[in-house]
């Protein structure tokens, strides 16, 4: 997709240059070198801007030890969030599924897939799966999942459209993000009583 956009942009730029050249009656054949270098310069600028701001994978989260897809499990298979994150309505942390839980299904579904075999290895060698953290919150803040779920805040409201994400992108939650919602909903705004401690 990204490559296609780049090619189209480049083509449009070339076309634009050609139109400009015709308009100002600049002979293409006489200024071949100048045209070439202008084009190269423009291409390089666009290329580096692209690389800096939207490199491939920007819209994806960190690579995980097992390429688990939230899009497939939540979006396609419609598994409830609570099935894998069971403590979300009873504790500050939602909890991660134990390896055992993955294998409830995957002992039967694509049981011989190399990644599922990897999961089995984790299980058999009693190795905790080293998932890479995607969501970050400052360490002086305690976010209580339970309280938000009890107020019927959808998971997606903070975590985004998780059902469309293959590799969860996650985010760094800043105070601004929390406080906006707390203001709108007239929720607790006390520093300690709400978040910090």
């Amino acid at each position: 997709m990204e490559v296609l956009i780049t090619l189209i942009t480049l083509a449009a730029l070339t076309l634009g240059l050609l139109i400009l050249a015709r308009k100002y009656r600049v002979s293409l054949s006489q200024n071949k070198a100048a045209f070439f270098w202008t084009l190269v310069l423009v291409a390089l600028t666009i290329g580096s801007l692209y690389l800096i701001y939207t490199p491939p994978g920007t819209r994806m989260g960190p690579e995980q030890p097992i390429p688990f897809s939230h899009q497939l499990h939540v979006g396609v298979k419609s598994i409830q969030c609570q099935f894998c994150h069971p403590y979300v309505d009873s504790s500050i942390h939602p909890g991660l599924p134990p390896v055992e839980k993955c294998l409830y299904c995957h002992n039967y579904i694509i049981a011989k897939h190399p990644q599922i075999l990897k999961e089995h290895r984790y299980f058999n060698t009693k190795t905790p799966t080293p998932w890479v953290k995607a969501n970050y919150l400052a360490e002086h803040v305690v976010f209580n999942h339970q309280r938000h779920i009890k107020k019927e805040i959808e998971c997606q409201q903070c975590h985004g459209a998780i059902e469309t994400m293959d590799r969860v992108k996650g985010r760094y939650f800043y105070m601004e993000f929390c406080i906006q919602c707390h203001r709108e909903k007239k929720a607790n705004l006390g520093c300690w009583l709400a978040c910090h401690s």
Partner: protein
Amino acid sequence: MDRRTFLKIVGMGSVSMAVGCSPDPYNAPRPEKNLFSLIHAPEDMVVGRTSWYATTCRECPAGCGILAGNREGRLIKVEGNPLHPVNRGKLCMRGQAALQGVYNPDRLRSPYLKSDGGWRAITFAEAEGMLLEKTAQAAGSGDNRVRMVTEVIGDTLLQLCTETLTQYKSAPPLVFEPLGYESLKSANEIVFGVRGLPSYRMQQADLLIAFGADFLDTWLSPVEYARKFMQMHALDGGGKGRFFFVSPYQTLTGANADLWLDCRPGSEAVVALGLLREILKLGRPTGLSRKLRYQLGNTASAYDKATVSKLTGISVQDFERLTEALRRAGRPLVLGAGLGNGSSNSLQTDVAVNLLNLILDPDLSLFDFEQRHRVEVAASLFDVKETFRKFAEDPPALLLLNNVNPVYAVAGGGEIEKAISNPATYTVAFNSFMDETSVLADLIFPVRHFLETWDEYSGKQVPVSTLQPAMGRLTDSPTLGDLLLKTVDGNKRSAEGYKGHLVGRMLSRADINGELDWLKAVQQGGIHQLPEPKRYKGRAGGPAAEKIEELFSTLAEPHASGLTLAAVPTVRFFDGRGANRPWLCEIPDPITRVAWQTPVMMHPDTLKQQGLKHGESVQVKTDRGNLEAPVYLTHSVRPGMLVMGIGQGHTAYGRYAEGQGTNPLRLLPAETDPRTGGPHFVTGGVQVAKTGRKAKLANTDGSRSQHGRKIALTVGLDSLADLTKKKKSGLTMSDFPLVLPLPEGYDPKLDFYTPHQHEGYRWAMAVDMDRCIGCGACAAGCYAENNIGIVGDKQVMQGREMAWLSVERYEDPDDARQLVFLPLMCQHCDNAPCESVCPVYAPHHNKEGMNNQIYNRCIGTRFCSQNCPYKVRRFNWFSWRWPEPLELQLNPNVTVRSKGVMEKCSFCVQRIKQAHGLAKDEDRSIRDGEIVPACVQTCPTEALAFGNLMDPGSKVRKLAEDPRAYQIMGYLNTKPAVFYLKKVIQKV
């Protein structure tokens, strides 16, 4: 400097500046972090919530029940088990610090084998193999070739040790405890015919006299007796029980007495005999045989008031006050010598005390001979020394040492050192630390910490108190029980593992009937139903008269002249086993307020006489040796006494213990008492010499005096009624009112700022100083709950300690011997001086009245600390470190503060938030007593209370309305939310 160099330096400077400052801290790259998933999810673990496991504390032989809080697999807090009959939910600071035993950075992770003078780490399998081989070898070489010395352990494990040793045709294990109560046991045997340690129903007494028994520090079961003492001594219906303390020095216990009679060292027995004389004179029926009565009368007749006063140095008036109180008392209880009073006369003191009790109450209704203290199983020090001495003549092939450190804890234990390092004996130390004893062993075999094991330990005899693993194992070390079972031949084994053995034994003793009972016991931390108390049926006529006569005829002269040194076990370190727990080192001593060091306490008269000054380094010499220690001036010891705490001055025992303080045991005589076999903790013939060096004391008290600032107030028992009469209205130091930190306390004439509006709750605390004994358990609980940094002695000297709660000690301006303890934490003022000076609003007043410190907002100006009249704010001069694995103890609900940030007591806001959550779930408001901050939770005497000031029925509101209530420096109109109740001084 030439131009080129200048430009170079400037260039380098700007580059390093640019490198050092990240342009955008929010978007700076962060190291990737992992979230680890479990393999199986345990049923009782909810991520983010603490699971509590009931077990039993093994930090001292008292055996308090504890609840160990486990968060995501790691222990973060221990608290008392409310169901346990010994401690009823409370815990001392040593109990709190049990966590720093399990997470101690110096805890050995694998066995160590001595080879070529050095240590080599080996695997547990190798060590186990070697142990089995050595036992088999030793057992094969003859009778009594395998010997064992153990600390006081539960009956099940002790029996198993005995059985195992019997299989090897060897004698049962020797139980060694440095504080072994030899004198008390001997006296109980002589007078009551019971060689044991009965417990006392102290709460039922109306008069308590202790001849040095420091039951609030370390004696028998301090948490239990602190509670019982307070039941007896707290203000109740306008009166309170009386407590006299007879000892040459105060200790924490004596500091809580109504009258401290500072007798000469070794003269406690004289006072007791003087009392005997007075009581016999009354001619009450005693239940003693005529012969004994006659003989006692004879012995005691020599000790009239004048003689007692002359021999003991106590004034006649004070002695008369004591006798008068005893004469008038309805249910008196007299306690004997303390551990530190182990002088040559301690047996006579204890016997006289027992006789006094027997005469005062022939039924001994305040004694409980059913519930005896477990520590009575310990052998006498004489037996221990004798055993080791015999090892020199006839060395055993294998010597097993279970968690004992006699090389440190026994004065003049040369024979012990020799026996352990004897090459003919292969010594295995089951110990998790390299301490003075285990470094002499051939193999150090770490066994599991008590918080990681299944076991049973009953601090008293009848109720069963269970231990269960409250966390996963930190090391692969096995338990001692499992190891012992392994050494037994397979088909003779009672069970495969020690847990099976334990359950089997409990079933066979009918402690439990089946699985359900077992689970219930484990869940509740034991079986706590106490049996019906039985009446004491002693020997008719009391003990044999001849024995008593002979005993008192050998009463040694008290130390009359010269200097005397007493080495006393302290509430912080017990016998020295607490010295490697950083919390215990950092929390200052209750009396001296000195942390990390071992000062030598001396009376100002002694200092004058010796030409010494407070804070000077002095050399203390006896014929056993000498040591150097800082001098500490105090009125809590009598002139001529030198008092030092036991516990520090280790030469090995990890980074926190080594080289900190000094060990006064080095100065004590090696001989044991010929009658009791107990140690001497007191010695005469002490000399002090100036060194000319000035020592820097790591003390945390600014001053011992309040300088009239109305900080810790007292009230006489007889003037209690006056408190209600006067209505105070001024704002001067001598006349200031109590103003509630609520809108109703707003006065437009006085207040600059508008009142704070609260929504439903205004949290407040009440401290009853009359109940506070100054033990410092609250401070330890606070350290554990709130991730408070440990700064070490050098920083304490700079005044950089981080304690959020410190128990301040003040001397009464009229009588410096009268101490007042004041637990001081953030006062959460309504008119908080800190809030108005912060340029960035980091101290913030919230809807529920608390003063919040917002750490990430704080820029470290320290204005707030400067403006705080209570000096309870602490600044992080450094980012404090928790050496691995101590960081596992950190409470995940509390931020770990870093350098440059101010911090202070938060009223345990994390617990308040938790209670809010629970209340919201159940759609109700928070109940009174539902929120229990860590300090309130652990206080053994329930001196602290916390609650909602806006609730007129709450405990804290009622205490705030007590006539004794006041606010510290109330004349400043800060309107603190911590109310103090004046200590009640009764003239006795």
